[in-house]
């Protein structure tokens, strides 16, 4: 929709230590205020224009501090877009900037399309004529690209699930509608609060599952926390280097307690890996030695994927066995490195210790095995079903925001049911939820409901 409130990360992804979430539109300040907490207790609604404020971004649902920020408030028309503009300066790198953006999106902002800030500026008379054509081209190009993404995802499980969910909501809506428009029609069960509540809870549960179990979504959002482990000199840093060489690495540092832990992002066939503690590997080549057993356990525990390197040229040691013990039951790939050297490793025992997990034979020195490893990682997380290059960051963040919004509306519907609000009013929120889900699959057509009404029920005089 035009003229609504939009938001985006306005700094290049992953680069630099500061990330800015920018919001523009009529509700910009209200939305920012809604998630902002100042130590002095002031609210952003009351501050002067063109001022900057220190405080925290809070997730009120979980009552959690997300990020320490500086927030700039700029009221229109003296802004880039001539609307109210808020810029949230985050220190936290990709992960926390993303979380702040997600939070902004759940509060009613929409994620900006490419070029949309510029478009706003133009439409509000801020930019000269010559730029108009460029913006139009951008919108058209973007739409074509979005169409590709949409088509790619149509086959995906997400849209299939959402379609199914929407159909179920639609049947509920049709049932409510038929009670309203044909009050004397006797053949349809009256939609009761209990029935509606049951359905709403079911839908909510499904959306939650989508949000939670959508592993791909999480991976794309945050990267897969990946730890490379192994005894000294097995080739961990060679592995890291080949990842980094083949894939553009993005380096960020995470503040706070783990400031000393350096992470690197690499993109392996569409799977973003967040390589944890790469500094450790670089410096000492041994995570356990460097950060101590307790810490390493913690790092391991939080990992999504473990790359365990063993040496083909050495016998299995007690330490290897201990590491295998530590990663029991976790997603891991075993890499047997140094295939170019004579075998001393007991492969049979490794197979046993691996407990069915993938084993890759590699020689980092000769560049052998990397393809197989990347293939293994890719198929582990996408099961070969999704062409990940289609899942751009933007559409992904958008989907998550839409799912969150849809869930909020279901929550409101449930709240309405509990407060004894009449069904036809509760239905307003159900309908919105249904429409919001439709934005993900691109089929938010209002006539759908009327069509459903007349195919589901035999109505009329």
């Amino acid at each position: 929709m035009e003229f609504d409130t939009i938001a985006a990360i306005s700094t290049p992804l992953g680069e630099g230590a500061i990330g800015i979430v920018r919001i523009t539109g009529p509700d910009a300040i209200k939305i920012a205020d809604d998630i902002f907490q100042s130590p002095s207790g002031k609210t952003l609604m009351e501050v002067n224009s063109h001022t900057i404020h220190y405080g925290f971004i809070i997730d009120k649902r979980e009552n959690k501090k997300i990020e320490e920020v500086m927030v700039s408030i700029m009221k229109g028309p003296k802004t880039f877009t001539r609307e109210d503009v808020v810029e949230i300066n985050c220190h936290g790198g990709l992960l926390s900037v993303n979380r702040v953006l997600q939070l902004v999106l759940t509060k009613g902002a929409r994620i900006a399309e490419p070029g949309e800030f510029t478009k706003r500026a133009f439409v509000n008379g801020r930019i000269d004529l010559s730029q108009a054509e460029a913006v139009m081209d951008l919108i058209r190009a973007k739409t074509d690209r979005a169409m590709n993404v949409a088509l790619g995802q149509m086959e995906g499980r997400l849209s299939k699930k959402i379609r199914k969910l929407r159909q179920e909501i639609l049947e509920v809506l049709a049932q409510v509608e038929v009670n309203i428009d044909y009050p004397e029609y006797d053949d349809v069960e009256e939609m009761t609060h209990t029935l509606l509540q049951e359905k709403a809870k079911y839908v909510k549960n499904e959306i939650e599952k989508l949000l939670e179990t959508s592993k791909q979504g999480k991976i794309l959002r945050e990267g897969l926390a990946t730890v490379i482990i192994g005894r000294p000199n097995v080739g961990k840093s060679s592995l890291l280097n080949s990842f980094v060489h083949e894939n553009k690495a993005i380096v960020t540092d995470i503040p706070g307690t783990t400031r000393d832990v350096i992470e690197e992002y690499v993109n392996v066939r569409g799977v973003p890996l967040r390589l944890v503690d790469t500094a450790g590997i670089r410096e000492t080549e041994d995570i356990v030695e460097r950060i101590g057993v307790e810490r390493s356990r913690k790092v391991l525990k939080e990992a999504d994927l473990i790359l365990f390197v063993v040496n083909y040229n050495e016998e299995i040691t007690e330490e290897d066995r201990k590491l295998f013990e530590t990663i029991k039951g976790m997603d891991a790939i075993i890499i047997i490195n140094k295939l170019d050297l004579p075998q001393k490793l007991d492969i049979e025992e490794i197979k046993k210790l691996a407990e069915g997990r993938t084993i890759i034979y590699a020689s980092m020195k000769d560049d052998k095995g990397m393809d197989e490893l990347e293939q293994a990682i890719s198929s582990m997380y996408f099961k070969g079903e999704i062409e990940t290059s289609d899942l751009t960051y933007v559409s992904n963040a958008r989907h998550i925001a839409l799912l969150n919004n849809a869930m909020q509306m279901i929550d409101e519907a449930l709240f309405g049911v509990e407060s004894g609000v009449p069904i036809d009013i509760v239905q307003i929120d159900m309908t919105k939820s249904w429409e919001t889900l439709g934005e993900i699959t691109g089929d938010s057509v209002h006539d759908e409901l009327i069509n459903q009404l007349f195919s589901q029920f035999c109505l009329g005089k």
Partner: protein, 631 residues
């Protein structure tokens, strides 16, 4: 045929059905010298189908017509045989009145009112041609050669345009109820370049009340509580007649199955598109074959007639089969069929050829309203009629102030916007689900939404307006009072709350907050915190609804506000869609056809996606800048 000059008017309305009556009445009341020309003056405000007015969404339209200063509500209030409030168990947004009409009295009452309008002339005649000069409509010519000239013309021809009645294998040229059809006018519209479509609708048989065994049916009485459509009605009719409910049987369905080959619907004889909203009984049986029975309502057509309308049995099966169908229904075994049911096919114009004022794009000063625009239903027709009448009169009187209702103003706004923006592929019926702001478009607040507009146009008298302002003030004051006053948790309060099953108060509570509890009604609050002045029921109801649903109403207003900027962005009349690079082809074609007035209207056209809207917006702004720099 030799022609002659028969008179000059400001506004001519062709047709005197439900659209025509409102159009003529509104135009005349606004001060325009108005003529209504109809084929048969005995058919003014005739109900060719069901003898009822109102129902969900439709009933609210009748209230809206009244709030704007129209006539339908007043006439039905004087002539109903039964009145019921529907959906009382649901929220306030979907409550709606429905009246069973005495269709003969309804006609008489309407005709009387129209005849008593000083600015209005009723004329019998069949309009066959329009006088068009320089793309403008200047008058009409009747079959008898009379030339009537006017500044604006409203066409409300219902199902008369090239009407054809179909009963089984029989098909003949006819308007509804065997009236003369209008053939030439349809051809003339085609010549003028209008795109016509063929629609179909139907009606059930009527039976003699004396031959019905009512003991086999269920009684459906009217409401005990007095009800009325018009905000001005003070006297209600207490002597109500009941309707009766019965059902089709397996035998009914067998008869239909074995005679389907004789049904024009299935033999291919009927090509017109029928409404899904009132399917024929054969349609219902075929499409929902598993359903063991269908409801059949027996509705009296009036107080002074024995004819009973068999609602639910709309059919175009042969007359002989209709006799058998009736006999298969409990209570109707020996019923005498007085008139057979029939289907009727007719021409309608594709409504995307209209501006939101209901003026045609192709011919200036020509307006169309009602079934000719592809709708079905008396209320839908009347709603368009009043708007076409208002706009035609406004133009004729030189006011040049177009009156367009928004989707958030009225169901009438939803109806007309749907028609002119999206068009329709079947006879269009209003449903509550068509309104995205249903919570704002309530039965109870039609006056609050529209009286202001009605007064400004000149259809609402100063006296009525003053009364309205007074009511509005009282509502606001009472809401303010309840939001301020604190109810203490004393014994009387706790007892009352307990008696309705609510949980005990711990502290004092604002009266408004207490009213928000689902179990509380205004009547309870009134006991705990009585108002100093006496308030009527209507005001109390309004206060209760506005407080109870404040959160939801507020949320809906926010939605409306969000779209407001897009509603306010006007698209210049001289826009050249071919010159806008980047529009998708489908969007370009649709935009060229619909010619939306605002960006919001453009965004509602199917096939125009958000990217096209963005491009359109930029183009419009670009044009503004270009214009400024040229000057």
């Amino acid at each position: 045929m030799q022609t002659y000059e028969a008179g000059n008017f400001d506004v001519i309305v062709v047709g005197a059905g439900h659209a025509g009556c409102e159009a003529g009445y509104a135009a005349a009341r606004m001060g325009a010298k108005t003529a209504m020309i109809t084929i048969n003056l005995d058919m003014v405000a005739f109900m060719p189908c069901n003898p009822s007015i109102g129902g969900p969404a439709k009933g609210i339209v009748v209230r809206e017509i009244d709030a704007l200063g129209g006539v339908m509500a007043k006439v039905i209030d004087k002539t109903y045989i039964q009145m019921r409030m529907l959906n009382t168990g649901k929220g306030p947004a979907v409550r709606a009145l429905r009246a069973q009409a005495d269709k003969v009295l309804y006609q008489q009452e309407m005709k009387k009112i129209l005849e008593n309008e000083p600015n209005l002339k009723l004329i019998q005649g069949m309009v066959e041609n329009l006088i068009i000069e320089d793309g403008e409509c200047k008058g009409v010519i009747t079959k008898t050669g009379a030339i009537y000239r006017a500044k604006t013309i409203v066409i409300t021809t219902g199902t008369y345009l090239r009407g054809e009645i179909i009963i089984g294998e029989l098909k003949y040229s006819s308007g509804p109820n065997n009236q003369q059809p209008s053939i030439k006018l349809s051809e003339h519209l085609e010549q003028l370049g209008f795109d016509l479509v063929r629609f179909k609708t139907g009606t059930p048989p009527r039976v003699n009340s004396k031959t019905i065994d009512y003991s086999k049916t269920e009684i459906q009485p009217g409401d005990e509580e007095p009800r009325s459509f018009s905000y001005e009605t003070t006297d209600t009719i207490t002597d109500q007649l009941p309707c009766w409910l019965t059902y089709t049987t397996e035998t009914t369905h067998q008869i239909i199955d074995s005679n389907l080959h004789r049904s024009p619907m299935f033999s291919g004889m009927i090509k017109g598109r029928g409404p899904r909203y009132c399917p024929s009984i054969e349609d219902k049986v075929v499409r929902f074959h598993d359903k063991p029975r269908h409801q059949v309502f027996l509705e009296p057509e009036g107080r002074n007639t024995e004819e009973v309308y068999v609602q639910g049995l709309s059919t175009s099966l042969p007359e002989e089969v209709q006799h058998k169908l009736l006999a298969s229904i409990p209570g109707l075994e020996n019923a005498e069929m007085m008139r057979a049911g029939y289907a009727i096919e007719y021409d309608a114009i594709t409504p995307t050829q209209l501006w939101p004022t209901l003026e045609t794009k192709a011919v200036k000063n020509l307006y169309t309203a009602g079934q000719i625009n592809g709708t079905s239903g008396y209320e839908e027709a009347a709603g368009q009629g009043i708007m076409a009448g208002i706009n035609a009169a406004s133009r004729a009187l030189g006011r040049n102030q177009d009156v367009i209702l928004n989707r958030s103003d009225a169901y009438i706004g939803v109806l007309i916007d749907d028609l002119v923006t999206k068009g329709t592929v079947e006879p269009y019926r209003l449903l509550t689900s068509r309104a995205e702001y249903r919570l704002l478009l309530r039965h109870d607040n039609a006056d609050l939404r529209l009286t202001e507009i009605g007064h400004e146009i000149g259809l609402i008298s100063d006296e009525r307006y003053k009364k309205f302002l007074n009511k509005k003030q009282k509502i606001e004051d009472e809401i303010k009072r309840l939001k301020k006053i604190i109810i203490k948790p004393n014994e009387q309060t706790q007892q009352l709350i307990a008696s309705v099953g609510g949980s005990e108060l711990k502290d004092g509570i604002r009266a408004a907050d207490l009213l928000r509890r689902p179990e509380m009604k205004y009547d309870h609050i009134k006991l705990l915190a009585p108002s100093e002045i006496e308030l009527d029921k209507e005001i109390e109801e309004q206060v209760e609804i506005q407080i109870k649903y404040e959160g939801y109403i507020e949320k809906t207003y926010q939605q409306v506000d969000r779209l407001k900027k897009m509603e306010d962005k006007k698209i210049p009349a001289d826009i050249d869609y071919d010159a806008i690079s980047g529009l998708a082809n489908e969007a370009r074609e649709k935009l060229k056809k619909v010619l939306p007035l605002t960006l919001a209207q453009a965004s509602r056209i199917s096939g125009v996606n958000p990217a096209d809207i963005s491009i359109l917006l930029i183009y419009i702004e670009q044009g503004k800048i270009a214009r400024v720099s040229n000057e």
